[in-house]
């Protein structure tokens, strides 16, 4: 019966890959219907018709869309994301360090946000409906309701301008010492943490409270266990699946939703790169970044699904 578990996991992975292909079609189609002509935007208003035609030929814009799609897809599968139209640089090599920067920022935001959210969620359940619960929920909801750019500028104002603890611009460069780098990302990472914290904390609280209605929680209480022991041993393990789900959703947001925060702190990550090239109408870059974001999103959700399957005792220990 172990095969049924493997089957389920394989099924999820297959679905993930299929979905990614579907998204690649959508991204490609979407960038095709964008108004304007790439060749015209590269050469500018004064270009001669002959020059435009040459450039189109050179870029392969005259081929039918389906041929271009498979050409693009073939490139992506072999690691060739194409060439940026605006800078004539290889996209993959200029994207690499930026992707790494984005992941670095997301990673440290997650390292703070995920455990913090879960611990606050557990505490909110432990002291549910009391002042502790209400304070935690209130603060978390307030931080979610504020838009990221507001939180970002608020942090800059407080910690960069007033207190001068951290730089207001998150400049990072190759070979930067680790501690310097951490100092540089402190403010954007905090802004991201505040954005994702409330959702994860509220969902953790709700998932555990739901489990707290179960008969086995009463069993644990009648064994004389203390509230935190009950939550830790009996409630949390049964609430893990929905919690993993919401954590993954927020991790995905940390990576694909950083655009605004990166722009505020002028952090050289994927988001800023994307915004730059959307304004330049640089379609290959937009496609590449879009596809990477989609892959991250689908990948993390797939991991959440698989984790939910793996933590289910019925599937892990079949009859």
């Amino acid at each position: 019966m172990g095969t049924s578990l493997a089957n389920l996991v394989a099924q999820r992975i297959a679905f993930g890959i299929l979905l990614l292909f579907a998204v690649s079609v959508l991204i490609f189609a979407g960038t095709q219907i964008l108004p304007g002509d790439v060749a015209a935007s590269i050469l500018g208003q004064s270009a001669t018709p002959q020059a435009l035609a040459n450039l189109r030929e050179e870029l392969g814009l005259n081929d039918p869309a389906i041929v271009r799609y498979f050409h693009w897809l073939g490139g992506v599968l072999t690691g060739d994301l194409g060439t940026a139209l605006s800078s004539r640089q290889d996209i993959a090599s200029s994207l690499g360090p930026r992707l790494w920067n984005t992941l670095f920022l997301a990673f440290w935001a997650a390292v703070v946000a995920v455990p913090l959210a879960i611990i606050l969620g557990l505490l909110a359940v432990r002291y549910r409906n009391g002042p502790v619960d209400k304070t935690i929920s209130g603060l978390a909801l307030a931080s979610t309701s504020l838009p990221e750019f507001f939180i970002g500028y608020l942090l800059v104002f407080l910690f960069a301008v007033k207190l001068q603890w951290f730089p207001s611009l998150s400049t990072v460069y190759d070979g930067m010492p680790f501690l310097e780098r951490m100092k540089a990302i402190a403010l954007p990472a905090s802004a991201l943490t505040l954005v994702v914290l409330a959702h994860m904390m509220r969902m953790t609280r709700a998932a555990i409270l739901n489990v707290m209605q179960s008969a086995y929680i009463e069993t644990a209480e009648l064994k004389g266990l203390k509230p935190l022991q009950i939550i830790r041993r009996h409630a949390f393990p049964n609430a893990v699946a929905p919690i993993i789900n919401v954590v993954m959703l927020n991790l995905a947001f940390l990576i694909v939703g950083v655009v605004v925060v990166e722009v505020i702190f002028v952090y050289p990550g994927m988001g800023q790169y994307l915004v730059d090239h959307v304004s330049k109408r640089d379609v290959p870059v937009v496609q590449a970044v879009g596809l990477i974001f989609a892959a991250v999103y689908i990948g993390l959700n797939m991991i959440a699904d698989i984790a939910a399957i793996l933590v289910n005792p019925r599937l892990r220990h079949p009859k």
Binding site: T219, L222, L225
Partner: protein
């Protein structure tokens, strides 16, 4: 019975539990109304000596589980103890607050819940949960506790006692889980165990083994017990004394023999005599109203057969009871007859014509003549409709009745079910369980059916209420000349209502015929087991039945 006043008790005395003048209240939130305080238990006192078993009996809402949990200082939901004292081993355990209670729970008193399947954490191995209380209270080391647990598993008759603790809840059957839960309660070697309906959710043939295992365990370990149940026959097998509760008040308290053989109070007398309802069977007529011909039904793509080659008949105006345990296929058979589930093969003949196998192809008249009543009356009614609308709906749908004509007929039906037209504008939430089931009966009758399928219609009701429903059904059968297909797992119900009986086991009919011949020897093996497993209200029945059972087992 009177104890000297004062809070101090001699620790050497044999008195273990002394609950005095308990008052327990709860806050309820009626829809659209302000929260209200209701009294769940009102001035109830009881005492229990070391090693003795006290049965708490009563119908739902009597406050018996609430009393059981109060002995652990615990109140479910918004329930709280607002008066009285609970002395355990001479100490008032309510005095020290929740920290003191936590020291008592799981060490001096343990709890066995009704549904062990829900009361175990599904994400943890059974062994970890069985030894948890002993470890938590520092009563034993893990090795000692596990050794004790294995010994208890063996004593309680669990298969593979060395390894069963490594399993998870879903890998163990309901009857086995109930035994594991008993082992879990015994593991910290408490002075007292509260058994809260421990066998109620089990099939009757499973119940007898679990009951015997619990009784042996109580005797061998010398633990005292509060045994809570609604089944007087069950409690008379295990308890030394019985307290009868009703509406949160004590009705009668005495030795087991006195309660079942010489009850003093009217309510206790009603409880004791509840199973005496007997129905004299009618001779089967020549014609049959419903005829199930060689029906086989299966679920899923794998075609798991849940009903196999079943053929039974129902005579006009008579009752066929289909008896079986959970998983025997009796409810699936009802689904096939009503057209909710087309069979793989076989046919249904009704009133001389062959019914279409699927619901969509049946005529409106087919639907009208074949009505159904369900186990859970409250979920079978729209909670936002009044009783008048609920009963009036089939009148509109089948007969096009409107306005005053309809209301008059609804009132007539309400009279027939002995409730009266005053209930016309009430909502289901305002009715008791028995009243809700009566409304469902009236709704079925409104269609003027020839056959009503009754699916476990009394199983969720308290015995006295269930008895009333059965009497009503019998009376209505005479008036309306309606036939019943009565699905149940309860043999007392069968005796009370059936003309003929079909015993189902694993999807097949193993015994079928008029009631008198089905219930007469010689029995086939399964019917024998089923009949001998039904608890009788007499002291010593369990021992006799168990020895017969083990004799039969060693013989086979």
């Amino acid at each position: 019975m009177l104890k000297p006043a004062g809070t101090w008790r001699d620790p050497e005395s044999s008195l273990l539990l002394d609950m005095r003048n308990l008052r327990i209240e709860a806050t309820v939130h009626p829809p659209g109304d302000d929260p209200q305080n209701v009294v769940i238990v009102d001035d109830v006192s009881l005492t229990l000596e070391k090693g003795r078993v006290l049965g708490l009996i009563g119908e739902s809402g009597a406050g018996k589980s609430t009393m059981g949990l109060a002995s652990m200082g615990y109140g479910r939901g918004s329930m709280r103890i607002t008066g009285g004292e609970v002395f355990l081993n001479g100490r008032d355990i309510l005095k020290g607050g929740v920290h003191e209670l936590r020291k008592v729970r799981g060490s001096e008193i343990c709890y066995v819940a009704q549904s062990a399947a829900a009361a175990f954490n599904p994400a943890q191995r059974l062994m970890d949960q069985v030894v948890e209380a002993a470890l938590h209270h520092g009563i034993a080391t893990r090795a000692e506790a596990e050794k004790r647990a294995v010994a208890l598993f063996r004593k309680l008759g669990l298969p593979d006692p060395e390894n069963i603790g490594q399993r998870y809840t879903h890998q163990v059957s309901g009857g086995q889980l109930q035994r594991v839960m008993t082992a879990m309660a015994l593991c910290p070697e408490p002075d007292l165990i509260v058994f809260d309906e421990p066998t109620t959710a089990l099939d009757v043939t499973t119940q007898i083994g679990v009951l015997a295992a619990i009784k042996d365990a109580i005797r061998d370990t010398g633990v005292a017990a509060l045994y809570i149940t609604h089944d007087l026959a069950v409690v008379s097998q295990v308890s030394d004394e019985i307290m009868v509760l009703r509406h949160g008040k004590m009705v009668e308290y005495g030795k087991t023999r006195q309660i079942i053989e010489a009850p003093r109070m009217d309510y206790t007398k009603a409880l004791v005599s509840v199973r005496s309802l007997e129905h004299v069977e009618n001779q089967p007529g020549a014609a049959s109203l419903l005829s199930v011909n060689d029906v086989t039904a299966a679920y899923g793509r794998a075609h798991v057969k849940v009903v196999q080659n079943v053929s039974v008949q129902v005579c006009p105006g008579q009752t066929l009871a289909i008896v079986g345990e959970s998983g025997s296929g009796k409810s699936t058979l009802a689904r096939v007859i009503t057209g909710l589930m087309p069979p793989l093969s076989g046919s249904i003949t009704f009133d001389g014509r062959t019914l279409a196998s699927s619901l969509a192809e049946r005529t409106k008249d087919d639907l009208r003549q074949l009505q159904m009543i369900y186990q859970m009356a409250d979920v079978a009614m729209n909670p936002r409709q009044t009783v008048g609308t609920i009963i009036g709906r089939p009148l509109e749908f089948y007969f096009g009745m409107r306005g005053r004509e309809r209301d008059a007929r609804v009132a007539e039906l309400l009279d027939e079910i002995e409730m009266g037209r005053g209930f016309m504008n009430r909502y289901p939430a305002e009715l008791s369980g028995g009243q809700k089931q009566r409304i469902c009966i009236a709704r079925a009758l409104a269609a003027k059916p020839k056959l009503i399928i009754c699916d476990e219609v009394t199983s969720a009701l308290d015995p006295v209420v269930a008895n009333g429903i059965l009497k009503l059904l019998l009376r209505l059968q005479k008036i309306e000349d309606v036939a019943y297909l009565f699905i149940t797992h309860d043999l007392h119900t069968v005796k009370a209502i059936a003309d003929s009986i079909a015993v189902m086991y694993r999807g097949e009919v193993v015994r079928y015929g008029p009631k008198s011949s089905v219930l007469a020897r010689p029995f086939d093996a399964y019917t024998d087991l089923l009949l001998s497993s039904v608890p009788e209200m007499e002291i010593g029945w369990l021992e006799r039945a168990s020895s017969r059972g083990s004799a039969a087992q060693s013989a086979s």
